[in-house]
Amino acid sequence: MSSAAPGGIRGLRRRRSRAIKANVFRTGVAVIAGFAVLAVGAGWWQVVEAERLATAADNPAVIAVARRALRGEIVDRNGAWLARSDRDQNGEALRRYRDDTISQVVGYASRKYGTAGLERTFNAQLLGLSGADPLGGLAGKFLPAQDRRLGLQLSLDLRLQRAAVRGLGNDIGAVVMLDPVTGEILALASTPVYDASAIADPATATRTFEALQADEDRPLLPRATLGRYVPGSVFKIVTGIAGLDTGAITPATTFQQQPAAEEDGLLVDGFRIRDGHHPMTGDTALDMAEATEVSCNIWYALAGLAIGGDRLVDEASKLGFGSAIPFDLPTAVSSVTSGDGRMPGGFSDDAELASAAFGQGETFVTPLQMALVAAAVANDGVLMRPHVVTALTGDGPGARAIGPETWRRVMSPDDARALQAAMEQAVEGDLGRLFTAGAAVPGVPTAGKSGTAELGGKGEPHSWFIGFAPVENPQVAIAVLVERGGRGGERAAPLAGALMERYFELYGTP
C-alpha cells in the first residue's frame, strides 16, 4: 500500500508531515480559543460582576471594613435618629438603635450575626462600599480613602411606629401605615419586638441572639412583610376590585338568590357558605356597598364565581399577588390560591373559588400586601410602589433622593370611587359601625373593611382591618393584623382607628 503511493515512503512521510503541520496549526487555534474563553471568564468576574462580589456581605474585605468603619446614620422622616455608630473604648465601631420598636424595619448590623433589615439591604451604601466599579475604584486607589459612607433617610415616623407597637401591646401582630399618594411607608411594626442594640453589641450579642432564636413567638420574624396569614373578609376588597375591573359586577349588582340563601346558606359544590347578618338585612338583595357594609359572604361568593378563577388571580396579581412585592426589605409572596388545582386560576373547585372570594380559601396574604390594596383603592386606582427609604444622604457617590414611583394602575377611577364609597359605608354606615367599631376617626370621614380570619379548629381567629382616611384626598392607608385577636372589630379595627387618629394629631386634620 504505502509503496504504491507516489514518491515512495519518503514522499508519503513528507505528505504526512505536512498534514501534521496543518493539524498542529488547528490545535493551536483551538488552544487560543480556549484561552480566549478564559479571558472572557476572567473579565466576567473582574469587571461585570465585580461590584456585586466586592460588596457581598460575607466578602472578608466587606467584613473588615465593617469592623473598622462607622456605618452611616439612619433617621426617620423628621430627622430623629434611628440607628447610629459610635466608637467604643477599643476604637471599634459600635452600632446603637433608638429603641426596639424599629427593629424589624431597620434590622441590626452585628459582627457575628451579620446584617438584617435595612442594614442588610443597604449594607454596601452604609459602609461606603458602593460605587466600587473597577474604573471608579482607580481614582479611589490614588486618593486617600474618603468618607464615602451614606446615610438613610426613612419615611418612617418614629412616633407612629411607637404608637403602633404600643397599641399591639402583648399581642402578636403587625401594622402597616403608608401614604397612598406617594407610597411612602409611615409605620411598619411587628410584634413581638426585640432589642437590636443588644445584638449589635459584641458583649451581649451571642446571649441575646440565641435567646431570640429559641423564643417560640419568633420575635426575629418581621411579620408585616414576611408573615403570611389567612385574610378573612378584608380580601373582599380584592374581589371587589377584580369584579369591577373585569366588569363581572357593578356597584349596583345584586344576586337574586342571595337573600333566600341567607337562611340555610349557599350551597356551592356541596360546601355551605353562611353569613351572620341575616337578622339585620332581612330579605333585601344587597348591592355592593351594602354587601361590603355587612360583610356578606354569600354576595361575595357569588361575585367570585361570576368573576371566574383565572380572572380573579390575574386581577390580584396586578395588586402584587403572586410575586414578591418590590420593596426595600424582603417580602413574602401573597397568593390567592396554592395553584395546584386544575380549574382556571389554579383552584381545585368552585367551592374553593367561592371561599377565596370572601377570604377563607387557600389564600395567604402579608399585612403589607393588604395595606397596598387599601392604598390602591384610596389613590383612585393607582398603586404606588411602596418604599421606606426616601433618600441616601451624604457626600459619597450614590447619594440621591428616592421619590414616589407609580407602580401600576389597578382599576379605573370610577371603580375606585365606588369601592371608596363602599368601604366608607363599612366604617361610617349604621350597620357597618357594628362590624368596625372604633375604626372611624372622629371628625374625619374614614373608609375601611374589617376581617375575621377563621382558622378552623379551636382558637381565636385573626383580627384584620384595612382602611384609609379621609375618604376624599386620603392621606393615610393602614392595615392592621392581630394574630388570634378575635373578630375584626374586636382588636384590629379600634387599633386602626386609634392609629389613624394619632396620625391626624401629628399632621393635622384636613
Binding site: S17, I20, V31, A50, A56, D58, A64, P134
Partner: protein
Amino acid sequence: MTAAIAARPASRFRVRPRPRFTELVLLAIVAVALVVGAVSLGATEQLRAATEAGKAVRRLDFLPPDPQGLLVYLLGLAAVHAGFVLAGRRTDQVLLPTVGMLGGIGLLLMQRLPQNLVVQSFGSAELGLGQLQLAWLLVALAVVGVLGLAVRSDTWLRTYKYTWAAAGIGLLLLVFVFGSEVNGARLSLSIGPVTGQPSELLKVILVVFLAAYLSENRALLAEESTRIGPVRLPPLPYLAPMVVMWAIALGIVVVQRDLGAALLFFAIFLSLLYIATGRPSYVVLGLLLFAGGAIVLYSLFGHVQARVDNWLDPWRDPQGAGFQVVQALYAFGRGGILGVGLGAGLPTIGGRLPIPAVHSDYPLAALGEELGLVGLLALLGLYLVVVSRGLRIAAASHDDFRSLLAAGLALVVGIQAFIIAAGNLKLIPLTGITLPFISYGGSSLLANAVVVGLLIALSDRGIEPPPAPRDRKRHLPRLSRLRRARVAP
C-alpha cells in the same frame, strides 16, 4: 581518475559558544520586572505594617521582602542561559525567559503568602513556603539546563515506548498502593522527607508513549478505519491501546479521585490523536466517550457529585462546601481591572487567609486579586507563548515522532494551565492539579521543567554550517567538467 580530492582534514562540526541575544534581552526584561515586582511587594508590606501599627509612613524603603532569594533565582536563570550559550546549540530562545517570568511571579507569590503554610525541616533548618519554592525552582532550572544541553537525540524516547508505558503504569500502581491521601485524593508518595506527586511525571511519560505509538501507526490510523454506521472508528486492533488509555483515565478518577489528572490525560490523548490522524470524527467520538463517562461517574460517585454540585451553585453552602469557590470569586471581584497590588490582597478572616490552599489550588485567584484583570491576561498570554513555541517546534520538525512529542509536551503545559484556570474561574469544576510554574509543588515544577527542557532540546535547528573555507582558489576546477566515471551498480 582516482585522484583524491585534496581537502581539509575531516572536521566534525564542533559545538562552540554562540551568543543568544534574544534570550539575553528577554531575560533582562524578566529580571527588571521581577525586581520591580519584589520592590512593590516590599513597599506594600511596609505600608501594611505601618497601618496596623497606626503609624504614618514617612519614607519609602525600596527593599523587597527576600532580596537574597530573588537574587539567587535570577542567578540561576543567568547560569542556565550561560550554559546554553556555551553549548552553542541553536535552540529556542524564548522558552527559558518565559518560564523564568512565570516561575518568578510564582516565587513572588509564595514569598508574599504566609510562610508557615508549608514548613519542612531539614535537620535543624526550617524552610518556609517561599524558600521551599525557591529551592524547587532552582532544581527545576537545573533540570531545564541539563535537558536542554544534553539531550541530542530522541531515539531513547522513541524506541522504548512500551518500557515507558510500563514505567508509567508501575508508577500509578505505586501511588495506589503506597500513596497517602490528601484532601480526599490519593496523590502523593513520600520518600523520606520529600513528598511528591508522581502523577505529574506520569503525564510526561504518557506524552512520550503516545507520540511514539501514534507516529509509528499513523498511516494505519489515518487511512484505514472501521466503519460503524456513519461513524469512523480507528481500526480495531489499534483502538485497543487507546481504549485502555481511556479506561486508565477513568480509573484514576475512581481510585485516586484525581479528576484533574484524568481530564488532562484524556485531553492530551484526544489532541495527539487528532494531530496524528487529522480525523475530527475521532475527537468527536472521544468527547462523547468523555461525556458518557462523566455522566456515569456523576451518578455513581458521591465525591464527583459533590464537586459538580459545588461548582454549579457554591452559594448554596457558602460557609461550608462552597467556601473556597465563593472566596476565590470574591478575590477576583476585589481585583477589578488593575488589581489591588502585589501583597495587598487576600484580606484575612480571623487571621487566616480567606482562600484555603491558595498556594496550590487557587494561585490564579490570588494573582487575579493582586494583579487585576490586566495581570491575569498577561499570565494567560505567557502560557500561550509556551504553547505556541512548542507547537511551532512541532510544526517545524520533519519527523513525525518529534512533531507529536513536541506538540504533546506543549499541550501538556497549555491544557493543564487551562484546566486549573478554568477551575479557578468557576468555568469548570475545581480539580486538584497545579498551575504550571506558579503553584507550589516540587513535583509539579520538576515535571514541567522536564517538559520545557525537552522542548528546548527538540528545538535544535541543526548544526550550523561552518563558514566557507577561505582558500577556495586552491581547489581543483569544478568536477562537473571532468569526465565522470561510472561505478557499476
